[in-house]
């Protein structure tokens, strides 16, 4: 039985749909990352799961029980979780009292509170600051205190809203390391939201993509990055080449797609006449100065229109009747003497594409 389940969860504010038919099923011990652009509804969803708000319609089941009960029952359920809000807010009290607050509200004895708080302060590296007023902490320190406040409670479910947003890179890395350690050491179920895909990949077992209040896809990070389920997901996970077209013919699970500026062969079993988007990851596009004789099914001639560097890599924009982006090492770019206007041969394999149906058969 899943630990948390949602059933057609909807949330509306002033007649505007923030969340629409969210159906989630989260197993105990799982780490789920909700990724999506700002305003997609991540915070709204987390607030519902943390039982801070009540949904317009739909239900949430926690450990098999519908949480839409009496305030007393909801409080009982809420005390099995802990939620770290996006904006870490210090109570105007010492660091120690901040971390102790949740334990005291649960009615724990003095000694128990002390042991737990000291242990957690040690973990976040703020033992020496225990008597400092938490309001005087830096953003990164405060975020760690906010996380400490939550994990001191040993929650069954830990919810985190954008744990590293609004932090400088160093604090963000430190906070993420702390989270990774928490995830390793504890058996807690963790649900976190982030707009940083890479962070989702690093921390989570499963990723749910939240776009415009809906979850079009949920799965392992591999599933989502290699086979995005919709055009929106592909765009959000950074597939740079998304080519829209119609399937012209199909043979032995290889389809030919007319994308307007050319024909592309792709491995897929979609039917002829279907509107599709063909995704090609830039790292799978090969550039050459002469026409290659290879097994790759897709080969085009084009002109370089733009070059930019991305760390050790160069991002090369090529116009081959349709725009295509290739990612090559800076060394290769230099060897090929790539510059704007240079003619290049572009190849990619039919198996390196991913085809998404964009609408029903017409």
């Amino acid at each position: 039985m899943p630990l948390i389940e949602t059933n057609d969860l909807c949330q509306r504010y002033d007649g505007r749909h923030i969340l629409r038919n969210i159906n989630l099923s989260i197993e105990a011990g799982e780490v789920l990352a909700l990724i999506g652009p700002t305003g997609a509804g991540k915070t709204t969803l987390l607030r519902l799961l943390a039982l801070l708000d009540t949904p317009t319609s739909g239900a949430i089941f926690f450990d098999g029980a519908n949480v839409a009960g009496s305030p007393r029952f909801r409080l009982e359920m809420r005390r099995r979780m802990a939620f770290v809000l996006q904006k870490p807010m210090a109570f105007n009290a010492s660091v120690y009292d901040n971390v102790a607050s949740g334990l005291r509200w649960r009615g724990l004895g003095r000694a128990e509170v002390r042991d737990q708080v000291e242990r957690v302060l040690e973990m976040i590296g703020l033992s020496a600051d225990r008597n400092r007023n938490a309001r005087t902490l830096s953003g990164g320190e405060m975020q760690r205190v906010a996380i400490a406040r939550a994990i001191a409670l040993d929650p069954e479910v830990l919810l985190l809203d954008e744990p590293t947003a609004n932090l400088d890179p160093v604090s963000a890395r430190r906070t993420e390391e702390l989270l990774a350690a928490v995830i390793r050491q504890r058996s807690a179920t963790v649900i976190l939201s982030t707009h940083d895909l890479a962070q989702g990949q690093r921390l989570a077992d499963r990723i749910g993509v939240l776009i415009n209040g809906e979850i079009p896809q949920i799965g392992t990070s591999r599933d989502i990055f290699v086979s995005p389920g919709s055009r929106e997901v592909a765009e959000f996970v950074g597939v740079e080449n998304i080519l829209d077209g119609t399937v012209l013919s199909s043979a032995e699970d290889v389809v030919t797609v007319d994308i307007g500026g050319g024909l592309i062969e792709a491995v897929s079993d979609v039917a002829v006449g279907q509107r599709v988007s063909v995704c090609v990851r830039p790292e799978n596009v090969t550039l050459a100065l002469s026409r290659l004789s290879s097994s790759a099914r897709n080969s085009f001639t084009g002109k370089v229109t733009w070059l930019s560097s991305a760390g050790p890599l160069a991002r090369v924009h090529v116009d081959c009747g349709f725009p295509l982006v290739a990612l090559v090492t800076r060394r290769s770019a230099a060897d090929l003497d790539l510059h704007i206007g240079r003619q290049v041969y572009v190849t990619f394999k039919a198996s390196a594409t991913h085809v998404i149906r964009t609408e029903r058969d017409s």
Binding site: A82, L85, F91, N92, A150, L153, L159
Partner: protein, 227 residues
Amino acid sequence: MTEIWQGLVRAIELIVTLDAEVIEITWRSLTISVIATVLASVLCLPLGALVHFRRFRGKRLLISLVQTLYSVPTVVIGLLVFILLSRSGPLGGLNLLFTPAAMVVGQVVLIIPILLGLTISALSSVDRTIADTARSLGASGPQTAVLVLTEARFAVTAAVIMAFGRAISEVGIAIMVGGNIRGFTRVLTTAISLETSRGDVELSMALGLILLLIALAVNLTLNRIQR
């Protein structure tokens, strides 16, 4: 002019020599107003939290009404309490009229609007995220309210001090339901009023000076808190 000057000198003499009557009246004033402030606080802090945290129809109207009553004339409250406590009134059986208890009741009624209104606005000034954070860490409704009150402690203390200031300086209620009985319900303000009409300007001035000193103490405390 010399009369005022002589009055002032005599007044300071009365204070410095700890004149028995002056001390007694001051002590009674302080006791009655402190009790009234404590009672009103016990009532208004939880009530303010309730109004602040609950969503209900007419909440804004209620808050406007409370704020309007900040400046209710003391004699109106005096009249109200008089009617309630008079022998034929609904609470006449308690025999409270013309006792210090009646004055406490009157002052409580007088400062409830100020205390309630300022408590609500003190709570509103606390970032909403504080309450959310508390709930997300498992605080119950009352625990959240206590935390938010603690966060607003300076503003809440200021409200309590303001209320005390209003209570100790009012005269209408003290006269109407206390009756200004010597040695029983005579307080600073009523004594000043009576002694002045009787021509004992020196005693009046001494008492007035004390009242001013109390006001000064209240203000200094307020400033310290708000700094």
